[in-house]
């Protein structure tokens, strides 16, 4: 199995953990357990992780910049409310990444 996942940075205080969940994409949840630990507990071995948080930040910033540049066209197609919601969600995630609360990694395990 190989997969990318966005997750709450390990070792956060309760308050930061809650902040991370509020910043993260809607599907991000936290059992406050390290991914590697969870994979091993599920029977996987040879777990490798490659941190891609820097790339995650760049991609999120690129989505935000791109949508801002084409704001007029996107608003015309989807409406102002949808555009604002999408941009606000992106900015929240970016803030979470920059605050060290959200990470993204490639996990490979067998």
């Amino acid at each position: 199995m190989a997969f990318f996942t966005i997750f709450v940075a390990p070792g956060l205080s309760e308050a930061d953990n809650r902040r991370a969940l509020s910043f993260g994409p809607s599907f991000v949840s936290s059992r406050r357990r390290d991914h590697r630990e969870m994979l091993v507990a599920a029977g996987f071995s040879k777990v490798e992780a490659l941190d891609l948080t820097h790339e995650f930040r760049e991609t999120q910033q690129a989505w935000l910049d791109g949508r801002e540049r084409y704001a007029r066209e996107l608003v015309a197609a989807d409406g102002q409310a949808a555009f604002n919601e999408r941009q606000a969600e992106g900015r929240r995630q970016l803030a979470g990444i920059e605050a060290g609360l959200l990470r993204r990694a490639l996990f490979v395990c067998s």
Partner: protein, 135 residues
Amino acid sequence: MSKRQDAEKRFRERYAARATEATLIIEREVIGANVGANGYTTVAQADLLAERLQLRPDALLLDIGCGRGWPGLYIAEKTGCRVVLSDVPVAALRAAKRTAGSRNLAGRAVAVRASGTHLPFPADSFDAITHTDAL
């Protein structure tokens, strides 16, 4: 509305939205190609995923939360493997099937409506599993 229901509603709406010239340009700039992506997996990262999965041409891959088929269909095209695409939004699965047809992958790609938390497959059905920010 629960967080999960809210997420499903949002994804349904996004996948139902029509691609425009602007969305295609932005996607090319961010992801590196027009592949129906709206997440964070770039073409370079999909290449890395394909490399790390080490799939043989006859292997069967499960892509959980496949959206419009990115990157499962790309990996199938690149490696020659077969792929089962699973996700909840029907609009996304329809788009994935259209893409599979347009890339001559229809015979090697199947779309199944299923949540990643309740997969309808027996154990050991697949040679490899992937998902990209779905779980």
